[in-house]
Amino acid sequence: MKFGTRLKVDEEINSSSTADIAFLLIIFFMVTTVFGTTRGLEMTLPKKQSTEEAKTAEAVLIEIGPDGGITIDGVPSSIADIQPYLMPKLDRNPNKFVLIKSDLAAKYQVMISVIDELRQLNVKNISIPTQKEIRMWERY
């Protein structure tokens, strides 16, 4: 009597679906990851005790009005005028002080746009006096 030979059983663990599982995990991570906006303009505030007085006579004064309009040293201008106005002054004196005074009713975006322009020019001394400081200056 002749018995039929059994089929050989494969001894390996089937790993063909590992890649599918892994790619599913990747998709899960990609979908659930929330990229936070964590970039911005850095500022270092001066120490309270040793407030460095910006020499107002030599500083460039940029004022922001309540409607978002700006004046540079008293001349009505636009954001685009900041760089051409400051560039020759910074060439002569790279440590030039720039004072930014914003009206309290002005939009925050205008202030950021002005700081952004100054940062692009690598202005080292930007002074943004708070209302308390402005009141103190006006008193003297």
Binding site: T38, R39, G40, L41, T44, K48, L104, Y108, S113, D116
Partner: protein, 139 residues
Amino acid sequence: MRFRRRGAIQAGIPSSSMGDIAFLLIVFFIVTTTFSVDKTKVNLPESIERKATYPEAAIIVIDSDGRVFLSEGDRNPELRGIEDVTVFALNLVARRPLTQFTIKASKDVEYRYVDRVMEQLRDVNARNISLLTEQRVHS
């Protein structure tokens, strides 16, 4: 003369290393992902110059209505009054004098709110501040 028959070449693409590649990608994602604790929705102002902020900085959120939310950087910011910034910042600066503060203010908010926050930060000798912005493309 009799030639030896060549063994049949398998036509399949070997996919045994696919799993390894995929797991490497997973490890990459796990290592590089940083979960942002701050989930407040604010229309940020736009700027061209941007630098990466310190990831564990304390967060001060000012929304378009001038409401202030505060967080030490470890959880989602909570609604507080604008005058609470002094005590909040003072606690942090007392513990770590070089604490970084991230101001995440709406671009539409009136500057008076940002000014008030900055004033309080200066009063407690906070030094390092980042103003969060979105990338502005050159026009």
